[in-house]
Amino acid sequence: MKLITALIQPHKLPDVKKALFDAKVYKMTVTSALGAGAQKGYTETYRGAQEEINLLKKIKIEIAVNDDFVQPTVDAIIKGAKTGNIGDGKIFIQPLEECIRIRTGEKGKAAIG
């Protein structure tokens, strides 16, 4: 099993959700985050003081999947999030050793979907 984490532009969340649903990925966890990456921030002057805002608002999506679902999930995220502009975001894939459904105590493949 893998844990896929994607950092995307906030306004792309509906598109990514749709692409994931089309790919039959229905489970996910979404949080808001601030990100620094290749995308340049913007400069604010506030009451005479200047500051470079280089942490931009991002959405973080985490999806735990079985190994055979990794590629379709990654593809779906890219499909929904890609515009070709800087700031589109990143996907990280990590190993996931176990997954447990609290309600039933099921583990592994049975629990993830």
Binding site: P10, H11, L13, P14, V30, T31, S32, Y42, T43, E44, T45, Y46, Q50, K57, I59
Partner: protein
């Protein structure tokens, strides 16, 4: 480098300012010269010393108007809260700023030219346009009950002008450039509103025709509502409002507590708007009229909210706060034209119908794929027309004239404002870039966010 630039700009501004300060006395004298010329005639009668009763009645009436004007000015806070609350948090600074500038620009321009255009005097009776001169007289005129000091009259009227202007800011929220809004606001308060206002309240042709609009369902609210519709049409909907199949997406406001507070403030402000429009309190006939007006206003507001809640509940199976709040405002708009001409019971009905109209209006806009984020058009435009018609149905005013006025004024506002927004759009583009719209106008237009430190997750 940056600092040098700022210093240069600073000195330049100072130089310009110094020049203004130097020439201003001359200009001001000019203003006063004109103004005094206009006021000459009536001033003559001032010679005889008014009686104590006249002085007292004068004080009572002007004090009444003063506090009513304060209440109407308070409505600016209400509009700011309602509109801020019904939009996304990323556009909050922009909305608040537009509301503030409406008032500020409105005060400046309506003082300089608007008031003189809207109340040009008897010389322009029955006409389409007139001008009494720049500025507002600071001279005392006749002292008697029912006579108003021009300064109080201006204070009351300028609050109305600012109200008409500020209605639009909600309808064009989230996508209009700030500079374009300032231009719009100047044109409306300095030109469009005073002209149609003169037709009715300045003694112009609509007044001569017998059209009745006590406190401005049409003269104020429908002007704002239809100007907003024009803006929303030229701009098109916000990104994400409508799906490709035409179905609308909810784009809920970020703070309904602000919206509720705003509606309570507007409701309170309306006790200046409607009762104040009697323009006199002294004399038991006036006192009585103000009492009936105030209660009618209350009942219509209450029933507007109740009607909207109930109708929405019936249609969608749940009572929706934002709709009930819009309903209260619609009830208030609907009773504005006729609050002095109907009974409490009729106000009850006018309010309920207004509440239902607002629900239908929102559905209509969704059908027509017009995006009016705060419901400014249903609330001020449609309920405004309803107010005009209801004046004929319930209020013993000729229905024909009411229909004419209820068509002409909205048409005037819609057409002139459509032309304005359209022309501005052709010349410099009035809509912000897609990227700016998505990130929010607060960052794009003002580089200032409303809620520093709060984590906000916007998904639209």
């Amino acid at each position: 480098m940056n600092r040098m630039k700022i210093l240069k700009k600073m000195s330049l501004t100072m130089a310009i300012l110094a020049t203004i300060l130097a020439v201003s006395p001359i200009v001001m004298n000019q203003v006063y010269a004109q103004e005094e010329a206009v006021q000459q005639a009536p001033q003559k009668t001032e010679v005889k010393k008014p009686s104590a009763t006249d002085e007292l009645a004068y004080a009572v009436d002007n004090m009444f108007l003063f506090f009513c004007a304060v209440l109407v000015l308070f409505m600016q806070a209400g509009f700011a809260m309602v509109e801020a609350g019904l939009n996304a948090s990323k556009n909050t600074v922009n909305i608040l700023f537009k509301n503030l500038m409406d008032l500020c620009i409105g005060v400046g321009l309506y003082w300089l030219i608007g008031y003189g255009m809207m109340y040009p005097g008897d010389a322009f009776k029955g006409g389409w346009f007139g001008f009494a001169g720049f500025g507002v007289s600071e001279k005392l005129g006749d002292v008697a009950g029912g006579t108003l000091h021009p300064q109080f009259d201006f204070l009351f009227q300028v609050a109305f002008a600012a109200t008409a202007a500020t209605i639009v800011s909600g309808a064009v929220a989230g996508r209009l450039k700030f500079a374009a809004y300032l231009i719009y606001s100047a044109v409306l308060t300095g030109l469009i509103y005073p002209i149609s206002g003169m037709w009715k309240w300045g003694g112009g042709w609509l007044d001569a025709m017998g059209f009745y609009d006590f406190a401005g369902s049409l003269v104020v609210h429908a002007v704002g509502g239809f100007a907003g519709l024009a803006g929303a049409l030229v701009l098109g909907p916000r990104i994400g409002k409508f799906n490709q199949d035409g179905t609308p997406n909810p784009m809920p406001g970020h703070n309904l507590a602000f919206t509720a507070l705003g509606v309570f403030i507007l409701w309170i402000g309306w006790y200046g708007f409607n009762p104040g429009s009697q323009l006199a309190f002294y004399g038991s006939a006036n006192t009585s009229a103000v009492g009936i007006i105030a209660v009618n206003t209350t009942i219509a507001a209450a029933m507007g909210a109740f009607g909207a809640m109930l109708f929405n509940w019936i249609l969608y199976g749940k009572p929706e706060l934002s709709m009930a709040l819009n309903g209260a405002l619609a009830g208030l708009v609907g009773i504005t034209a006729n609050c002095d001409s109907v009974t409490n019971g009729e106000a009850f009905i006018i309010g309920i119908v207004a509440g239902i109209i607002v629900v239908l209006g929102v559905i209509l806009l969704n059908k027509l794929k017009i995006d009016d984020p705060v419901g400014a058009f249903p609330v001020h435009g449609l309920a405004g027309i309803w107010g005009g018609i209801a004046t004929g149905l319930f209020g013993d005013h000729p229905l024909g004239a009411q229909i004419v006025g209820s068509l002409v004024i909205p048409a005037w506002a819609f057409i002139t404002m459509y032309i304005l927004f359209f022309t501005m759009d052709k010349i410099f583009g009035i809509r912000v870039s897609e990227e700016e719209e998505i990130k929010g106008l607060d960052i794009g237009e003002h580089g200032e966010e409303a809620y520093a430190g709060f984590q906000i997750i916007e998904t639209k």
